[in-house]
Amino acid sequence: MRLTLLNVIIAVVLAIAFAAVNAAYLVWAERRGAARIQRRPGPNINGPFGLLQPPLDGIKLMAKQLTIPGGADRIMFIIAPVLAMFPAIMSFVTIPFSDSIVAKNMNVGVLMIFAFASMGSMSLLIAGWSSRNKYSMMSSVRAVSQAVAYEIPMLITAITVVMIAGSADLTEIVHQQSKSILHWNIFPLLGNSHNILMPFSFLIFFMCTLAETNRAPFDLGEAESELVAGFHTEYGSMGFGLFFMGEYANIVIGSCMTTILFLGGWGCPFGLFPGVWWFILKLYLLIATFIWIRWTFPRTTIYGLLNLCWKILIPLSLFNLLFTAGLLKVF
């Protein structure tokens, strides 16, 4: 019993470390990637390829004073950034990186991750509300309506996958897809469902991940040309740093979930040498796509975003759910 507890603690600490290192170095990757896209060098002074930039940024942020604006709700103002980081890190506990590398496998892993993901919008709401800034308030209203809207197609799509796998256990979902690329849920030509609509499901899920993590082109919560900096306008110092790291941790979670649900987790496309390296490769390819999209597209409008969700994504994902149910009944 004691040993298991110790194992869990070590695994949790490792998960937290993974999340934190990823969050820090994704900022670096994003800045380098953006620079590459825009034909400029990006951070390249501190350390080789500018690799010391993230820790130095962290030190700078920690050295700054955390100012709380007058009239702000102090307790809520301090809780909000913690709440942004905490669910993202907790989600890492259930993510299976390979057969053996998982902190705590649960048979309701999908459910738990979505439960934590929906806590993220809570922190945006609290941050916007407690800052007592009109821009923050408008931003958090936007962010919450966006998060609520996009959780629906995301969950429906996840349920579709759970139905195909017959289990809400993430490890089990990956095992179902482990044979070859044709068993992956993105092109399920073999496997137990022959659903030709799954590529659309993948796109819907990916778009929802973009929207849920507040990334461009759906970054309406922090639309800097309208709302200054959105919900974190009033945050400086590590408060801002936590929001920033939370955002990147969420991106990692979103990409992990996409990899597990659609891209066969740690499985190799050809059924050879499955292992954590495949997971990492797929994960970072997805993250690179995130960065690529962000620096290519302008921002959508809030009504365009909600129209897309309620009028296109939700009906499509619902239809796909029914279609999949029908297929599973037939085969």
Binding site: I37, Q38, M138, R142, A223, S225, T296, P298, I302, G304
Partner: protein, 372 residues
Amino acid sequence: MNSPILLQPDETFILNVGPQHPATHGVLRVKMEMHGEYIVNAETVIGYIHRMHEKMGELKTYPQFLMNLSRMDYLGALGYSHGHVLLVEKASGIVVPERAEYIRAIMVELNRIASHLFWFGAFVMDLGGFSPLMYALQDREHILDMLEAVTGSRLTYCYFRFGGLYNDVDDDFIAAARRFIPRMRKSMKKYHRLVTGNIIFRKRLEGIAPLSKEMCRKYGASSAVARGSGINFDVRKNEPYSVYPEFDFDVPVYHECDSLARYMVRMDEIEQSLRIVEQGLDKLPGGPIMPDKKPKLIKPPAGDYYQAVETARGSFGIRLVSDGGKNPYRLKLRSPTYSNMHLFDEACRGMMIMDALAFMGSLDLVIPEIDR
């Protein structure tokens, strides 16, 4: 403890956009009365960067005032200097050598391209796309390098003199300008592929902020704002000045009246300016760049003079009332952005804030030029 803010369903709140706000590109302040995300009423508040250029015009002698013009609109500075020198030359009867006029036109058009490129980048950045700004600035850099080599400065030029120019262009400049034209055309294709064809970009601009012809006329709008609403007015064509009648170029006019039309007008204007530069380089005559005889002290005879020019931001008018002295009696600057900006108050009513700020970007505001 805080008292909670209780908003009634029909209650509005005031949002101060600016004077320091990323979307206003300077120190413009817009007092918006908001109902949720909708603008009920907006009031532009200007004057945060007022520097009394008109008063300085009265206090300084004519040559002393030359450098002030390029401090008005720092993005398309040469167009403004052009208006001033043309006016004073007209008033005091100075004849400009043909070569100088051609070089002026080439320089002004290059500066117009630079200004439009910066606007393009900043406008797309207003819409949330950051990368086009970097591409546009790289192209603009070529123009600034060329202008720097000839005029000696990169942003606030003092290149035109009464009667001619400060410095003649050399072969390097001509070669660089000839190299620049095809490169810029290639870049324009890239911009159209990357930005104009982008579905998100089009959805954010098509049909947004329609400005009727009547409204443009009422506020005295010019430049792409008027031409995007179907008003075919360009000072270079309608009230020709300098050597512009010698050039073959079109005035792009769009009838859609929306933000996309204004965007398209400016993008097409870059191509037209390239045509003018191309023709100017071909036709560039030899000869001096300053007249042989020029009055030592510039003292226009008493009278009332006016000159309008088409700058990157629209029709810039400059009126001079002279009493025969070495200072103007009155110098009135009619800046185009001032008129274009005042459209905003009326046009943005009922719009959502993100559309309104995209619309503001399409007006191409340069605040120091409004406040003067």
